[in-house]
């Protein structure tokens, strides 16, 4: 609970951030226009304008904006900005050196291949690209020389090598930490705490996707589904961000998922958003970036080869090429902890450098949104809230480091025999699960199951469920894994997750594990 001093500081900061924003000017304009209304009287001007804004839904929009601002960490007066991004000095250093390494790799690729980081397209090429904008997938450029800047397993090695200089890692203490790969003592939650935090996932609560299954008696099905549908409709119509988030914890109905997610993320598709997207598109047409080739290659290697996502190849180019040029993305990282590796063009920062598998963050969203600028906005919000944490070094509770540690701890605590057995045959469980977590399971689960998982990420505003699911998958396949005798066979057991139903796995792991 905030004290009086902290509360006034928080209020001042939020006002500062919202002042001058587009929402501010819109509300001002609305307030001016409402003066024409007959029921707005001079003597009670203030109250009448306020009640007008309330009934017309503008107060709700303001509440949503404040709610979104509250997601950002509060500023403690003596703390410098880099501390707010990441409080631990050694992690900041590690992230900085990782960023340098990635950038160096990109630069050396540029020199090696003789391709500049950026160059202006000739006019003919620009025209051709404009015409072909909606079918870039038909292009077959020669990408054999390009290779991804880094792959998830490179990043895993960096995480494994992280050490706290003040940590006493002599042999006789916390032997448990030597079972796993992550050696950083972050605070991660165990099942009792998770049960409290994720109480809506209890075995006794209905979940979308399980309990509206056809096997249930139609009468029960109708009532439950209708009720959920009704609630979600009301939430969407009321445009209540916080309610949408709460609702999403038990899963979103398929038809309303797109609207609910857009509401939770406050991703509007207003004229200025469309204009921003068009500007980025113009940038893509004008300049060719080295990073573009990496994006092409990534899409061709991952999404295009996937049975579910290959149809969206064109969309993926349209989103990712614009995303790589969006400097507004980096504006957001002034507040949030860590920054993903970024590249520079002639001194100007260009956004994120993609790694192998990056396009899989966008692919599932193509099922929900078919309008490119809306798809772009939603993806951008998802990235700056969640996905960037999966490839940055930080101590945040949703950061990949915490997720890895949590996965290992859950396994060690609740499946110790399995963990021991795997170590005996020379397999580290994290090496098997890392690629799932870094992509938030995109490309490994079937799409409907993946979207149910991402419902919870949005609903609980945390990536913790990803670590819980990884542990739950191991628990589910524990019997088979106990019989394997090599890394290759362990990988084979865990190769195909497309038949898994995520919510029953998570529910059983959290609420039915014997303590």
């Amino acid at each position: 609970m905030l004290t009086g001093i902290e509360l006034s500081l928080t209020i001042a900061q939020i006002i500062q951030r919202l002042r001058g924003s587009h929402l501010h000017s819109q509300i001002e304009r609305q307030a001016k226009e409402c003066l024409h209304q007959p029921d707005v009287k001079l003597e009670s001007l203030k109250e009448d304008v306020r009640s007008f804004l309330k009934t017309s839904g503008w107060e709700r929009k303001l509440q949503n904006a404040v709610y979104r601002e509250l997601q950002l960490p509060p500023r403690h007066p003596p703390a410098p900005p880099e501390h707010l991004k990441e409080p631990l000095v050694y992690m900041r250093k590690a992230q900085a050196s990782w960023e340098k390494r990635v950038l160096k790799s990109l630069n050396s690729m540029s020199t090696e291949l003789g391709v500049p980081l950026a160059h202006m397209r000739p006019a003919a090429e620009q025209k051709e690209l404009t015409n072909k904008w909606n079918e870039m997938g038909t292009d077959e450029p020669d990408l054999s020389r390009f290779r991804p800047v880094y792959a998830p397993k490179d990043f895993l090695e960096v995480l494994i090598g992280l050490r706290n200089p003040n940590h006493d890692s002599s042999e006789d203490i916390s032997v448990r930490s030597h079972w796993g790969l992550i050696q950083v003592p972050l605070n991660v939650r165990d099942i009792p705490h998770l049960r409290e935090a994720y109480s809506e996932l209890n075995l006794t609560s209905g979940q979308m996707g399980i309990d509206d299954h056809a096997l249930i008696h139609p009468a029960v099905l109708c009532t439950h589904s209708l009720f959920c549908l009704h609630v979600s409709c009301v939430v969407v119509m009321e445009e209540d961000s916080a309610a949408a988030q709460q609702y999403s914890r038990q899963g979103c109905p398929t038809g309303l998922r797109a609207d609910l997610w857009a509401l939770i993320l406050n991703a509007t598709n207003q004229p200025q958003d469309v204009m921003h997207y068009e500007q980025l598109k113009a940038g893509v047409i004008q300049h060719n970036l080295l990073v573009d080739n990496l994006i092409y290659k990534d899409v061709k290697l991952t999404a295009s080869n996937d049975d579910y996502y290959f149809v969206f190849e064109d969309f993926l180019y349209q989103v990712l090429l614009c995303f790589s040029r969006d400097t507004a993305v980096l504006e957001h990282f002034k507040y949030n902890s860590a920054t993903p590796p970024k590249s520079y063009i002639q001194g100007e920062i260009i956004s994120v450098i993609p790694f192998h598998g990056f396009s899989m963050y966008v692919a599932p969203l193509c099922f929900l949104y078919n309008e490119p600028s809306k798809l772009y906005n939603v993806f951008r919000e998802m990235y700056i809230r969640y996905f960037f944490r999966l490839h940055s070094i930080s101590s945040h509770a949703s950061g990949i480091l915490s997720l890895c540690l949590q996965f290992e701890r859950l396994l060690q605590t609740h499946l110790p025999q399995l963990f021991y057995h795997l170590r005996q045959i020379g397999v580290q469980p994290l090496r098997l699960a890392f690629k799932w977590m870094v992509r938030a399971f995109s490309g490994y689960l079937s799409t409907d199951q993946l979207l149910l998982l991402w419902d919870r990420i949005l609903g609980y505003d945390s990536l913790e469920v990803v670590a819980v699911l990884a542990a739950a998958v191991f628990a589910f396949r524990a019997e088979n894994l106990m019989e394997v005798t090599s890394l290759a066979s362990a990988e084979a057991v865990l190769a195909d997750l497309s038949t898994l139903k995520v919510m029953p796995l998570i529910q059983v792991f959290l609420f039915a594990t014997a303590m």
Binding site: T3, L42, H83, P87, S174
Partner: protein, 232 residues
């Protein structure tokens, strides 16, 4: 609300080297007890009324603040008292949460009034064996300043909302009186609209005699009776 750290300067004081308490023989046994004492000597002869204490943590789990206060009126010797007992700085002494964070202890969070303080003692505790060392960095003590009587309590409110700079109005009438007179006129038109059978009003000036035709705009309601004239 009294002065914020932005306005006031911290008190100059000397911090003695932190003393890590040892168990057993100081020479032979170097087992850490997990307790460390930091003495802060405030300037001699100038007791301080503390507003807040700020510091940066480095792996300390709990901090206790003890103050040596000397009451200036009484001749009694200075007495030690506990201002804050075992304030947790880390959620879990074994893990990283809060380990390098910045903290502020405000006088309202202290159990005693931190006035006339001569010396402060910070007792740091870190029971976990996970860390090689622990301490507090960048300790600063800000003095309590009496609130400016001219500024009201809502001073911090005005800091929240940036007031617009009013442009220089030379030779122009005061905006307040202009707006109030306009409001009066508008209110009058409202009244007129609701009572449509009453007097006519003209925007332009009319002659003193009622019999002559009105010089007025077409909004007028010619109903005879009283004519209200506005100033020229």
């Amino acid at each position: 609300m009294s002065g914020t750290p932005d306005d006031t300067k911290p008190v100059n004081f000397t911090v003695k080297a932190p003393v890590y308490l040892q168990i057993g023989d100081a020479k032979a046994d170097t087992a850490h007890s997990g307790v460390c004492v930091v003495d802060v000597n405030l300037p001699f002869g100038k007791p301080v009324n503390i507003e807040e204490v700020t510091f940066k943590n480095y792996y300390t789990a709990y901090v206790t603040v003890r103050l040596l206060r000397r009451n200036p009126e009484q001749e009694a010797p200075a007495k030690w008292c506990t201002a804050v007992r075992d304030l947790p700085l880390m959620d879990n002494p074994h893990t990283e949460g809060g380990s390098q964070d910045y903290y502020t202890i405000h006088r309202t969070q202290m159990q005693v009034e931190p006035d006339h303080v001569v010396c402060a003692r910070l007792i740091l505790r870190q029971p976990s064996l996970a860390w090689l060392t622990f301490s507090l960095e960048d300790i600063q003590i800000f003095p309590h300043t009496e609130p400016d009587p001219e500024k009201e309590v809502s001073d911090w409110l005005s800091d929240l909302t940036l007031t617009d700079q009013h442009p220089d109005l030379e030779g122009l009438p005061d905006p307040q009186t202009v707006s109030s007179s306009i409001q009066q006129m508008w209110a009058l038109t409202e009244v007129m609209q609701t009572n449509q059978t009453t007097a006519s009003i003209g925007r332009f000036d009319v002659s003193e005699t009622h019999s002559q035709p009105h010089l007025s705009c077409n909004e007028c309601v010619h109903d005879g009776g009283d004519v209200i004239t506005f100033g020229r």
